[in-house]
């Protein structure tokens, strides 16, 4: 019953060229840094990657960009990345920009078996073009469709061999949503504890969403914008 995987290399081996992968994280906060690095080494290409952002040039999803493994990026904000800009402008990289709340809900819906939902977000903007419009109590909404992934890469703080996960602070972000929406969810944790050591009342992602779990060892946890109080 244990979902403990032997290595990141083994876990990402099932990811094939052309797969859709949902990746947790917000900026560089709470990204599955070990699995991304393993995927960069594995080399699967023509990937569709669904994630709020696309890393920075030399870290996070930026590693997959630098390797030209990403065919299409689905994200809400991609402003922190030079390589991204280059590949986008020369037509190598396809981009679908999705409002952040719509992106989160599309992934949530994917994990929850809801095929689509109506939202007012984006009505009257370029995002609404070509989408079904419908009025509810006088308010126009557009139809947005669910997202599921062939795989999901997530990062949590603590986990157990059944795949139960607890996140820490704002490193939670898209991780629980991604975990539920991936056919194969690979969860990496800072600390893998024995079964029974996590309080069931405080589990954020119940283990049934997770297929592989690994302890990631030392985490780099890069800070994108280091801001401190002025003394």
């Amino acid at each position: 019953m244990t979902k403990r995987s032997t290595s990141f290399e083994t876990s990402v081996r099932s990811i094939k060229d052309g797969d859709t992968i949902i990746v947790g994280g917000f900026g560089l906060c709470g990204i599955p840094e070990k699995a991304i690095t393993a995927l960069a080494e594995h080399g699967a290409k023509d990937l569709t990657v669904v994630s709020n952002n696309c890393g920075v040039d030399d870290w996070g999803l930026g590693l997959l960009l630098a390797n030209k493994q990403i065919k299409k990026m689905v994200a809400s904000y991609v402003g922190e990345n030079k390589i991204f800009e280059e590949q986008y402008l020369n037509g190598e990289l396809e981009v679908e920009l999705v409002p952040q709340g719509t992106l989160a809900e599309r992934i949530r819906a994917g994990g929850a078996g809801i095929r689509g939902f109506y939202t007012p977000t984006g009505v009257g903007t370029p995002i609404a073009e070509g989408k079904e419009h419908k009025e509810f109590d006088g308010r126009t909404c557009i139809l947005e469709e669910a997202i599921t992934g062939d795989a999901a890469l997530v990062k949590a703080w603590k986990g157990d061999p059944y795949g139960n996960l607890i996140y820490r602070k704002t490193a939670r972000n898209f991780n629980p949503l991604a975990a539920a929406a991936g056919k194969k969810t690979i969860a990496e944790v800072e600390e893998l504890v024995e079964v029974g050591q996590l309080d069931p009342d405080f589990i954020h992602t119940p283990g049934l969403y997770v297929q592989d779990i690994l302890e990631g060892g030392a985490y780099e946890k890069r800070i994108e914008k280091r801001t401190v109080a002025q003394a």
Partner: protein
Amino acid sequence: MSNSREKIINRAVQEIEDGMIVNLGIGMPTMIANHIPAGTDVFLHSENGLLGIGPYPDESELDPDLINAGKETVTVKNGGSFFDNAESFAMIRGGHIDLAILGGMEVSENGDLANWMIPEKMVKGMGGAMDIVQGARKVVIIMNHVNKHGASKVRKSCDLPLTGEQVVSRLITDMAVFDFTENGMILKEVLNGADIASVRENTEASFTVDEALMQKEDSK
């Protein structure tokens, strides 16, 4: 901080009332947090999954797992909470955020907002702006009244691609405060030495002048 920026922030902070749940956009709006008076107890919402943003950390408190929507390291105030992004936007779309203060590129006379993309330039994305303008109970936009070429950013209609249609409740610039109502766009206040005439000169949009403001100026 530039002079006009400071003036806009000083006026914008007056929108924040005790007990409110407030979302501040990235950039100039984030700076409003430092100006909230000590006795005003508010919860600042950060769309990446934090209710109750605290001050910036000192070196010893610095935590890579604790950031705001602008990806800056922050702290959490007592009584704060963490949640995932779907729940965060359920709070926004579900009407649980009292006030959002966001930056703008253009605002039109019917309350349309453009603040996320300039065609022909690299598009970085809308982040959470399109959700926030649809969901927050009150949307206040802060921006300079004119662009660097002196052209009005307060337009008859927006040239730039929209973030939302008829979503702005109030616009605060370095010259004026406007409200957007069923009766159209209304000039409520003139700021920083501007008067009704100078606001008209610098505004492309059509607006009416609030009765009280008119009387105030007449009595000068």
